[in-house]
Amino acid sequence: MTQIPDTATRRGYPRRLTASLRARPTLAAAVIGLVLLALIGLGAPLVAPSAADGTWATHPDNVLQAPGLEHWFGTDQLGRDVLSRVIFGARTSLLIVVGVLVLAALVGVLLGTVAGYFGRWSGSLILRTADVFLAFPALLLTVVLVTALGVGLWTVVIAVAVAWWPWYARSAAAMARTIRTRGYVDGARCLGLSHWHILIRHVLPNTVPPVLVQLSIDAGTIVVTVAALSYLGVGVQEPTSEWGLMIQQGLQHLNGAWWIGVFPGIAVVLTALCLFTIGESMRQRLVQRGGS
């Protein structure tokens, strides 16, 4: 059963999209939430009450203030406005998630497609390597990698990407393998088209959709994983605003200055919820279309 590619009905797509969103309010809420989050993250220096507090500033005379008119989310142990730091934390999370997904998906899809299409030795090698990486729990692998590479924002991105690429590789390889066995590929070869031509024009466009779906589901997990890394002390460092880091610092103030840990925690949960909801419905869409 061949699929009718998306491109054929591109014109009707936006209209159908909004219609289906209107029919499912939770999904709509999640999408709106995500868009808001992205906007806030991108526009952090403009949106936050104090951009300095979100980055380098401290105010030792103003520590641990309760939420009030001047500081809606209160101030933290260094006197910084928590709302500003939560907003800048959105930016950090955005950066990391996008960075990880781009890196992991790029590497994973490329390697996986090659592995699935060509098969035999190269395919085996790539997939066995992927399996070795998959043999570790993701958090354990990222922790070991970050401690090896040194802590910091970019090493976190690399380490988490290294832990995630095998998924995309396997998914892409499975899809590529299936397509390889399709009649039209052999037909194309008979016509004299090169492997690369086939890969780019026929195989890749089909390996990408399931990976996209996987990406959206993974985004939520990645946000939580990065928070866990910072909680363990091997993630993003001060003075960069990051939700997991704020949670870790805020946990000791739970009975006193509860606002330090609670607001970033809510941010993590809401973001993860939005991402999971969107990812789940994208997955359902794909299943309905006959892919798997």
Binding site: V132, A135, V224, I247, L254, G265, V269, E280, R283, V287
Partner: protein, 347 residues
């Protein structure tokens, strides 16, 4: 859809999977060793103490064999590994294998209990949710399960501990058993797991106490697998319930409840069994983070402490054990899935 006449030849399948697993294990060992030996810093410092003089450090350096080339170090490590020696922890100065064996029972108890709670609940919730797809019950279960997956386990642990132990005082804050009770009842310290000890000693009072201490940690660790299973089973079961054969069965007058239980549940569960290893893995990670907060003397606490103090041998040893465990579990779940679903294609 798959060639139904080509059934997997069991012997060949097992052999192929075993070879595959073995290769992965080798990769795990190599990668663990490499990743950790690449770490910056002289491990002798952890061993000798932060106030050690340069001469003392040099001595420990030689003692630990850190001056030899990487290949030689790896060879020695491999040889020792095959004899069951996982190296000596730099921080505790005990054999890592000994530390892990000691820490394992407590972790097993926690993980098993958490799974015993989370898995059946997850399956039940998934079934109910799929059965009443679209109704209020479904929406409620979806919301709960989504929340269970999205909440960071350490946040949940601290919140619950604060609420139920600190503020309300209903449940104990941490530990496996009340120390004074254990002392008064002369609990034998056979394994490191109080529950096991209590069963072994046949002591019902302590047994109940350990079960009460398990409540909070088990709930926290069970949350993620519960949420995950609910969601996966729900979508898998919905898919099955909308399949042509289900419609046919309904047309023949098969009741909905019987349809769910006898016809669709097994095919819905099959892909989930396939990822059983991954679910277990996420549970283990959750358990590791929760263990520290609840003062649970298991592998998780051991690993987190080792990572924070950069105890190379302990980190490598634990990583290898966990990695191998993963491979074994995935191996089993792979084969189980193949057994349950004869349509699985053999590559």
């Amino acid at each position: 859809m798959g060639d139904l006449t080509r059934r997997p030849h069991w012997g060949r399948l097992v052999l192929r999977r075993s070879a595959h697993a073995l290769i992965v294990v080798c990769g795990v060992v190599f990668l663990s060793f490499l990743a950790v030996r690449v770490l910056p810093g002289d491990p002798a410092v952890v061993y000798a103490g932060s106030r050690a003089s340069a001469a003392q450090l040099q001595q420990v350096h030689l003692q630990l064999g850190l001056d030899r080339p990487l290949i030689v170090q790896f060879w020695h490590y491999l040889v020792a590994l095959l004899q069951g020696d996982l190296g000596t922890s730099l921080a505790t100065r005990r054999p890592v294998a000994e530390d892990l064996t000691k820490a394992l029972p407590a972790s097993l108890v926690l993980t098993c209990v958490a799974l015993a709670v989370g898995v059946p609940l997850g399956i039940a919730a998934g079934v109910v949710s799929a059965r009443f797809h679209g109704r209020v019950v479904d929406r409620a279960i979806q919301a709960i399960s989504l929340l269970a997956v999205a909440l960071p386990v350490f946040w949940l642990a601290v919140m619950l501990q604060d609420l139920f132990a600190s503020k309300l005082g209903w449940l104990p804050a941490a530990g496996q058993v009340s120390p004074r009770l254990a002392d008064a009842q002369h609990l034998p310290g056979i394994s490191n797991a109080a529950l096991v000890d209590a069963i072994y000693a046949g002591n019902p009072i302590v047994l109940v106490d350990t079960m009460i201490h398990l409540i909070l940690p088990a709930i926290v660790v069970a949350a993620y697998p519960f949420g995950l299973l609910t969601q996966l089973l729900r979508s898998s079961l919905i898919e099955q319930l909308q399949a042509p054969y289900a419609t046919l069965a309904r047309a023949y007058g098969v009741g909905e409840r019987r349809l769910v239980r006898s016809y669709t549940l097994r095919p819905a569960l099959t892909p989930i069994v396939g990822i059983g290893g991954l679910v277990l893995g996420s549970t283990l990670v959750g358990a590791a983070l929760a263990e520290e907060i609840f003062n649970w003397p298991g592998v998780g606490t051991y690993l987190v402490t080792a990572i924070r103090s950069l105890d190379i041998n302990a980190v490598v040893g634990t990583t290898i054990v966990v990695g191998v465990l993963y491979v074994v579990v995935n191996f089993i779940s792979d084969l189980s899935q193949a057994k349950l679903d004869p349509r699985i294609q053999v590559e």
